[in-house]
Symmetry: C2
Subunit: 289 residues, 2 copies
Amino acid sequence: MATEPLPVELEWGEVLLSIRAAPINPADIYTVQTGGMYGTDHVAPPFVAGHDGVGVVVKVGPGVKGLAENDWVVPMKPNLGTWRSLAVAKEKDLLRLPADIMPVEQCAMLREILTAYRLLEDANLKPGDAVILNAANSTVGQLVVQLCHLLRLRAIAVVSGESDFEKTALWLRALGAAEVLLDRGSLKASGGGLVKFYSKPCLGLDAVGGASAQRPSEALADGAQLVVYGAMSGKAAQFSWHQWVFQGIQVKGFNVRRWMKDSKKKLPAMLESVAKLVNAGKLQATFTE
Amino acid sequence: MATEPLPVELEWGEVLLSIRAAPINPADIYTVQTGGMYGTDHVAPPFVAGHDGVGVVVKVGPGVKGLAENDWVVPMKPNLGTWRSLAVAKEKDLLRLPADIMPVEQCAMLREILTAYRLLEDANLKPGDAVILNAANSTVGQLVVQLCHLLRLRAIAVVSGESDFEKTALWLRALGAAEVLLDRGSLKASGGGLVKFYSKPCLGLDAVGGASAQRPSEALADGAQLVVYGAMSGKAAQFSWHQWVFQGIQVKGFNVRRWMKDSKKKLPAMLESVAKLVNAGKLQATFTE
């Protein structure tokens, strides 16, 4: 833990934030481990870690137009350094939230919530469709499972961790998972779980990469889509050429910050939908810190 | 070379074909090398090779409704065994062509022509857009280059084979390639060719796989699409997780036979468009045998 002096004056376009809550997530750990790398962004050590969190504006600098004191904000870009109590940030790097939109801890996890929401929203699914996801016990994974339940989609939740499998499986079923499978071997061959479903999954979600990405992709219906939104194993997802040419899978990457940047007009309506679900207790991100 | 007796009687739904022309293509060589494997299909040796070709119906069996004597047909599925002079085939495995639709040699290459056509047609491109493709000197590659020229797209043709590079480059430029690059190192870094273009390619086409697939994918604009339609190296295309999550690339496989099967109603109009281009001398597949 360290302290650093606050600047006497805010620069043009800057605000002073009081950070109310900040989570630790895999992207943070990756950044700390790699000494500041995250995607194409790089911060030189020493740096304040923390990509996500929620802050309240306590002071507004010159030239700030869209933010006022007491506004709630979340980061629009990584590496803002949210693991501290007070922070100076540029207005353009922040997303303003309506105050009290949802509990402060859920706001701090907004990136995870929006990611889960978009992963399903963008996939053009209909009730009864099956969705297979790995890392189903991760924050985004749990949220996807909860949203699948609300949208009447069959979530096939794949989890690693053999020792606490029974406990995890019970918990994910309680959140709404139709099936919970262990991330091992070929899910296609293991059958057990998958054959219970009327149709093969038409969406696969991968946050792990490496061999773990192969499993959901092999279980997919022909021509189905797999979305890569993380790589917790540090290894890239890999697919065989048979899967490309004969199974006709479609794979794309997803990054919610890019989506937010490209879709600013859609954000308010989306925040409202998400907040309703969270405030009604139907959608809940597990808060880590 | 071997001969086998013709059946005395045709079975229900069968026709007797006189094969007029049949090419040798990478899929044939793959099938011969692997002893009959092609995708999910498998024929047990000994078998007659040849996936493609054009035949004329010389005799119609009982129950055949859509074909008559003298009709031209091409295979709708692999492994028909076109490397022979006479063949018995099921009506349902054949696509009827209007007689004299285009030169017989071009009909025999119809799968390549339709592949090239669809790869561009399905990509939602506009004049001036850049398309990057490897194996640009393959049959499909040449056809893509010709079509790019007709559609005012900038074809960035990537070819292997250092020794005859100058000759190949001249030839592909004559077909309409905007740029010809050697399939080696990082095309992004080599810059030379790519920086001449106003915008990064928004479509990549990969028929090789392995390291060769990485090159066009790295050169793509953020969020662009890469289509895998072959794997001549026998290795799967591989992409880094940064490409998925931060470059936001979208990769899908394409198989023209699947497309034909799923889009029977669209086929006549497509055949007519393609035939016009071929008959006008604007689109020409190099005939191998």
